[in-house]
């Protein structure tokens, strides 16, 4: 038997998050991810951690992600030159998902933007992209707008149906937030920046915390009876069930927002002005219909289809590839996402997945696989 689990034994090239010692004390299995030693799972295991998040609440360390502030009265206008979302219209205390766009219409990163106050935006960037993002954003700023990376902050995610109960106990101000809202709140005596959002499809919160206080905040959260730690393994199976894109797998420089099913990120005003990088290609995909679409895939059998699996059409021809695939602990069946030729993208379409040389029947199904349960 062989496996490709990237153990971190003696790998000094990996960066440590502020919770590294806590992960190891909790018995986490650490792996290399985007240059960081990260917990892929704790002793409970991925299935149990996944179910913990769906039934109660889970704590994730996502401190590998990039955090930054954009200062200046024209920070929103400056950011709009790089993304297709409406940043001018983002109200104080609100958060929005948007995309850093490639000139050819591809996606350089998917990011979260919060307006803390009029002239201050808070950005959360993917770990694998943060260096490139910061360089790109920094290079695009006019006089009077300043980018401040926040490498000394940890990011914790508390996700699950019991997350709000826990936050009501520890930080009532945070528990009062609506979906995609942000506010400062004190947790365990530490001023945290809290947003009501996440990457699991559940209600939940993300907490930006000073690195030196991260372990204290994390331990306070873990002391709550509803919460148990969960690693990157469960984070991946949770976001796949929720139909959420993973940058580098489901979206990248070669995928445009229309074929990725992210047309909703285009701001109404931006779809009139077409004034963002890659706008001509995005407009063409919108008006002509994209050549391919991201879809949910449900193998008829029990065999999971992993990223890279060829998707075979009715005539035996390859019509696409799986970009994320695995097993759904909630549904107890294999699930996948991938891109297929537009004429094979309708819900219910019968396809085959070429797994180890065999064409296994599968169907196109709507996303998400598991309904979102965000607070309303």
């Amino acid at each position: 038997m062989t496996h490709d689990d990237a153990s971190t034994h003696g790998d000094a090239s990996l960066a440590a998050t502020p919770l590294d010692a806590l992960h190891r004390a909790l018995g986490a299995r650490m792996v290399g991810f985007a240059g960081y030693a990260m917990p892929v799972q704790y002793p409970a295991g991925i299935l149990a951690e996944h179910r913990q998040c769906r039934t109660a609440a889970a704590l994730f360390d996502v401190s590998h992600m990039g955090q930054a502030l954009l200062h200046g009265a024209a920070a929103d206008a400056a950011l709009e030159r790089l993304v297709p979302g409406d940043m001018l219209g983002l109200r104080p205390g609100r958060q929005r998902y948007t995309l850093l766009m490639h000139e050819a219409g591809g996606i350089l990163d998917d990011i979260m933007v919060s307006r803390l106050e009029a002239g201050r935006l808070f950005l959360v960037l993917n770990a694998s992209r943060k260096a490139a993002d910061l360089a790109q954003i920094g290079a695009a700023l006019p006089a009077g707008v300043r980018l401040e990376p926040l490498p000394d902050r940890a990011l914790l995610a508390v996700q699950g149906p019991a997350a709000a109960t826990v936050m009501a106990r520890l930080a009532p101000a945070a528990a009062a937030l609506g979906f995609m809202a942000v506010a400062e709140a004190s947790i365990a005596g530490t001023a945290c920046l809290v947003s009501r959002s996440g990457y699991t499809g559940e209600d939940g919160f993300e907490l930006s915390v000073p690195a030196e206080a991260a372990e204290r905040v994390a331990r306070t959260l873990l002391d709550q009876p509803e919460i148990a730690p969960a690693g990157l393994g469960a984070r991946d199976s949770l976001r796949l069930e929720a139909g959420l894109c993973l940058y580098g797998a489901d979206i990248d420089e070669t995928t445009n927002p229309v074929e990725a099913g992210l047309t909703w990120v285009l701001g109404k005003r931006r779809r009139v002005a077409w004034d963002f990088p890659g706008a001509p290609a995005v407009r063409a995909a919108l008006e002509d219909g994209p050549a391919r679409r991201r879809v949910g895939l449900r193998p008829d059998g029990r065999a999971p289809a992993r990223a890279g699996t060829a998707i075979i059409g009715r005539g035996g021809e390859t019509v696409g590839h799986v970009t994320s695939g695995g097993f759904s602990p909630t549904l107890n069946v294999p699930i996948a996402m991938g891109y297929v030729r537009a004429d094979h993208a309708a819900d219910g379409t019968t396809l085959a997945l070429r797994v180890r040389g065999a064409d296994l029947p599968a169907h196109v199904v709507p996303l998400p696989f598991v309904p979102h349960r965000y607070v309303r």
């Binding site: 038997m1 892929v40 991925i46 996944h50 393994g233 065999a303 999971p304 097993f327």
Partner: protein, 124 residues
């Protein structure tokens, strides 16, 4: 009296003098984590030594299982196909993968014994 042997790829082989039973080791199941799918060889299939002949998938990833020795498959564990987590709960007993008649019984003797395998795992 059966013989128990191990491979460097973390399979175990229990040989009763006629039939060899093959599975993955306790170390392997711990490393893989939650097992959600197995693909087992068909009875009658002839295997070469080292041939990838079964697949075990955890939540995270797929891994190959190799034939420890050459031989012919006689049986696949239907209970494991039905309940892949059996390989987590009982890796070296009920969670066996398949059975085979080895082409050369002496090839099994040549594999690692329990002490050698423990040393192999400790050195990883």
């Amino acid at each position: 009296m059966s013989t128990l042997r191990f491979t460097k790829d973390h399979e175990w082989v229990r040989f009763d003098g006629t039939v060899a039973t093959i599975g993955i080791t306790e170390h392997a199941q711990t490393t893989l984590g939650d097992i959600v799918f197995v693909e087992l060889p068909e009875p009658g299939r002839d295997l070469a030594e080292g041939e990838a002949c079964a697949v075990v998938e955890s939540v995270k990833a797929a891994s190959d299982v190799y034939a420890p020795v050459a031989g012919r498959v006689t049986e696949a564990n239907a209970a494991l196909a039905e309940d892949p987590a059996l390989a987590n709960r009982s890796a070296e007993d009920e969670g066996w993968f398949f059975r085979m008649i080895p082409a050369d019984a002496k090839a099994i003797e040549a594999l690692m014994d329990a002490d050698d395998y423990a040393a192999h795992v400790a050195a990883l």
